[in-house]
Amino acid sequence: MKLLKFHLRYHPPGITLEYTKKGIVRNKDIDLLELDSNSDVKVIANEIKQKEVLITEEVLEQLQQCLETLKKRIEHEGPAGKRFYIYKTLVTHLLPVTNVSFDRAGNRCITGSYDRTCKIWDVDSGTEIKTLTGHQNVVYSVAFNYPICDMVVTGSFDKSAKVWSAASGQCVATLWGHSGEVVAAQFAPKAHKVATASMDRTAKLYDVVTGAELHTYVGHKAEVIALQFDQNDCQSLVTGSFDGTICLWDTRVKDCVAVLRGHCAEVSGVQYSWDSSLLASASLDGSARLWDVRQRNCVATLTTPGAEVLDVSFDWAGRRLATAGSDGAARVYEARADCRSLAHMQGHSEEVSKVCFSPAGGSLLTASADKTARIWNSNTGNCLQMLSGHQSEIFSCAFSYAGDTIVTASKDNSCRIWR
């Protein structure tokens, strides 16, 4: 065994060791989720050395340099964060924009719209690269295939999902079978599969290459509105439903593996943590819940009295989670059993519909019906900046991987890029 290279992964922090074994090049990932600005690089390097035979005395210094770079990356946001200014306004959609997403590099973003199209944008120039036309109704969900990002999947109210080549803008597969609106669609990160969630109370799994339906996941008693693949081997899929339950499915079989019960109203969002050991769910019953995936039990319930929880999001390392409330507040908690409340963001005058962390975790982005998006210090809860300019409520928002660009999508038919 011989170590060839260190590869750095900024968000969440990690190192990949590239090495040869019997002449074959292999990779080994080391997650450094605990790394933050207070970490002692030397201590961590020694810990890794003890666990990894590949790390020898002669590369220890190099490892320390890598860790130092990662640490700087976390610090670069700083306590005050970067200041964002309106950079481009994207205005060629004819009707309200629904969901929005960046590609991995942050060079392109995709938007879905009520005008039945999905558009691929060049972020730098603010120009349209491709318009994906073919859906017969609203394009509601949009997603790239991470990390390659050469394909796009769209979920539409026309009851189908479509897979597109991002380069040519051609539809490469239409995924039929749902009898209700498709409201979520996602690629499996390491496999040629797409999962869809629909108002017809089912989720489905498709083969991207052939467009064939592989499984239909039946079990929810109401609309399925959220879904996500696990982040590791993509063999597990989680769905959240208006029936108040969360289901775990194994993509190799069609039966439900586990039903997580506890919410007493519609589930509004569900997300895996980075290592897929935890699940967070949001519900209109006014609570967010944290679940242990292996034990399949609820480890914490975070209630916000008198408000519905409309969205939930982990930070990239999975150490904290944020919730969005119909009371106009966002809240940040520690993602552990005791779920200590860390920050409370108040300022929006209407409901917060989306919430997400900056990749390095220093700030929190919220989108609201009050026509503004806001950036908050995720540790103190102070509002750092208000992104105003949209003429109508903001439906969705996202940070680019580098954390230097934000996109907001609004009911006013426009998208704004902030830098």
Binding site: Y140, S392, E393, D412
Partner: protein, 208 residues
């Protein structure tokens, strides 16, 4: 089919506020759009408000929700509001009527319980255009059998055609496959709006 023309008590009701509205609701966020898309539980209805641009749809919607009607701008998308009336929760979808976005009206047809069509009765030039649009709506499969309420709006203007003449232009008397009603109104004052909604509540179709 017995059809009432709601013109008779029209002038008595000027400036009446809507006591029958116990609560109005703003509907925000993508998630709420999904909530309103659901095949509605009992006592929750989906009303679709259509008509040419400048017909007065958004003013009507705001009037229903007891909101200020003075600052209405052309709708470049849609507005949704929930209104309680006669024990029903009415989810009213107001869709922009500009020509270039009319082809997208079909986005909103699914699960519609009542179709409300608003006509600017003072816009004589576009009477034919509005009746063609309506005729097309009535032919759509997804709106088959859905009761139709036509608001003959802007009756306060001198040039406004009376509701009976508008009904004739629209060919309402030829409709055989659904119940319908025409209601004269002045959306900006709220006159006649209530009567229309009462008709709506009485003509809620039985769910399949």
């Amino acid at each position: 089919m017995f059809v009432l023309f709601g013109v008779s008590n029209f002038y008595k009701l000027t400036q009446l506020k809507f006591a029958w509205l116990s609560r109005s609701g703003q509907i925000n966020g993508l998630l709420n759009i999904l909530r309103k898309l659901r095949s509605n539980p009992d006592k929750e209805l989906r009303l679709l408000l259509l008509g040419l641009d400048n017909a007065g749809k958004t003013t009507l919607l705001k009037q229903l929700a007891s909101e200020d009607v003075n600052h209405v701008t052309p709708t470049a998308g849609f507005n949704i509001k929930s209104v309680l009336s006669s024990g029903f929760k009415l989810n009213v979808w107001d869709i922009g009527g500009q020509r270039k976005i009319r082809p997208y009206w079909r986005n909103y047809f699914e699960n519609t319980d009542i179709l409300i069509y608003v006509v600017d009765c003072s816009d004589h030039q576009r009477l034919e255009e509005t009746s063609l649009e309506l005729a097309e709506l009535l032919q759509d499969d997804k709106l088959r059998g859905v009761p139709l309420l036509v608001y003959a709006n802007k009756q306060d203007l001198d040039t406004a055609l009376p509701a009976s003449e508008v009904a004739q232009h629209l060919g309402l008397h030829l409709i055989r496959d659904r119940t319908w009603q025409i209601q004269a109104c002045v959306a900006i004052e709220g006159t006649g709006v209530k009567e229309g909604m009462e008709w709506v509540c009485k003509n809620i179709p039985v769910r399949k």
